[in-house]
Symmetry: C3
Subunit: 132 residues, 3 copies
Amino acid sequence: LSPPRRESIEVPGLGHKAPIPAASRIGPFVATGNVYGRDPATGRISDDPDAQVTQMFANLEAVLAAAGGTVDDLLKVDFKVASLSLRAGINEAWLGLFPHPRSRPARSVSQYDYFTPPALVHCDALAVIGDR
Amino acid sequence: LSPPRRESIEVPGLGHKAPIPAASRIGPFVATGNVYGRDPATGRISDDPDAQVTQMFANLEAVLAAAGGTVDDLLKVDFKVASLSLRAGINEAWLGLFPHPRSRPARSVSQYDYFTPPALVHCDALAVIGDR
Amino acid sequence: LSPPRRESIEVPGLGHKAPIPAASRIGPFVATGNVYGRDPATGRISDDPDAQVTQMFANLEAVLAAAGGTVDDLLKVDFKVASLSLRAGINEAWLGLFPHPRSRPARSVSQYDYFTPPALVHCDALAVIGDR
C-alpha cells in the first residue's frame, strides 16, 4: 500500500475539536486550517492580544515545520481579528518573520465578530514548499 | 485552435445567476465558487439545515467530478454558516467523506450574516487533482 | 547569490501602509493581497462605486502584469463589498474581462462591514501563470 497522496498535518497540542487536521499537504502545496494563539503546552489562549499574536505566529511556524516547510514557503496569509487594532501587533511580528521586503507573502486582515473568547485572532495560510 | 488553458467547470442545475462558473481549472488546480445546498433537480434550497448540508456536500462532489476530480483531491474547504450551530451537521457529513484521519483536507468555518434565505451555508474549495 | 524563490510583487502607487507586497509569487503561483479601487496616480479612492470597481479591476490587471501574468491566469477572485448592490457593477466589469464563458475564473462575493471609507470594495486573487 502506498501512502495517501494527501497528508493530514498534525502538531501536538494544536489539534482542533473538529475532525480536521492543523493543515493538509498535497505534493508541494500546504493549506492550513485556522491557526490560533493557543499555547500547545497548556492548551490555553492568553487574554493578552500581543501574547496571542506572538503565539499564533509560533504555531504557524510549527504547523509549517510539521509539513516540511518554513515561513519562507508561505504564499499567502489571511488574518481574522476581533478588532483592527490588532494589526499593529501583527505588523511587528510580521516584520520579524519577513525582514526582506523583496520576499514576502501576500496578506489580508479582516475583522470578524464571532470569535469564542478569549480568542481575538487567527490566521490561515497557503504555502508552496520547495526542494531543499 | 488549442483549448483555453483555463477551463470553466459547470454542472447542470448548479449554475450561478452571475456570469461565473461553478469552478475553474488550470492544469491540476481547481478552485470552486460558492457551493450551496441547492437541489440541482428542482433548483430549490431546503429550509432544513441538515438537508442543506447534505446537499451541499453532494454538490461539491458533483463539481469536483465535473472538473475530473474527487473529494480525495481537496486541499482546503472553507465554510460560511448563518449560525455556528451548523458545525455539528458539517462534522457529521465531513466524517463520512473523510473517514481517514491521516488524509483530510484543511478546513475553516466562519459565521456570515448576509445569506439570502433560505440559504444557511455554503463552501468553497481548492483542489489539486492527481494523475489517475 | 540567487534571487529569493518567493518574490514580492509591487506596483507603483498601489503599495500598502502595512509591510506587505501587492502580491507574492512562488514559481507559477501568484496570490494578491487586497486590491482596492485606489487611483495609483493620485492615491485617492473615488466616492463613486462604479469608478471604484473599474479602478479595482484595472489595479488587479496591473498587479498581475507586475507578476508576469494577465487576467487569463486567474484561477479564483474573491470580492468583499460594503453592499451586495455592488455586484451589478462587478458583473459588468467581469464580463468585459472574461467574455468567454468556457474560460472564466471562479469567484465569490461577500458583504463586509469594516471598510475604511470611502473604500466600498476590494478583491484578492489566486493565479497560476503559464508559459508563454
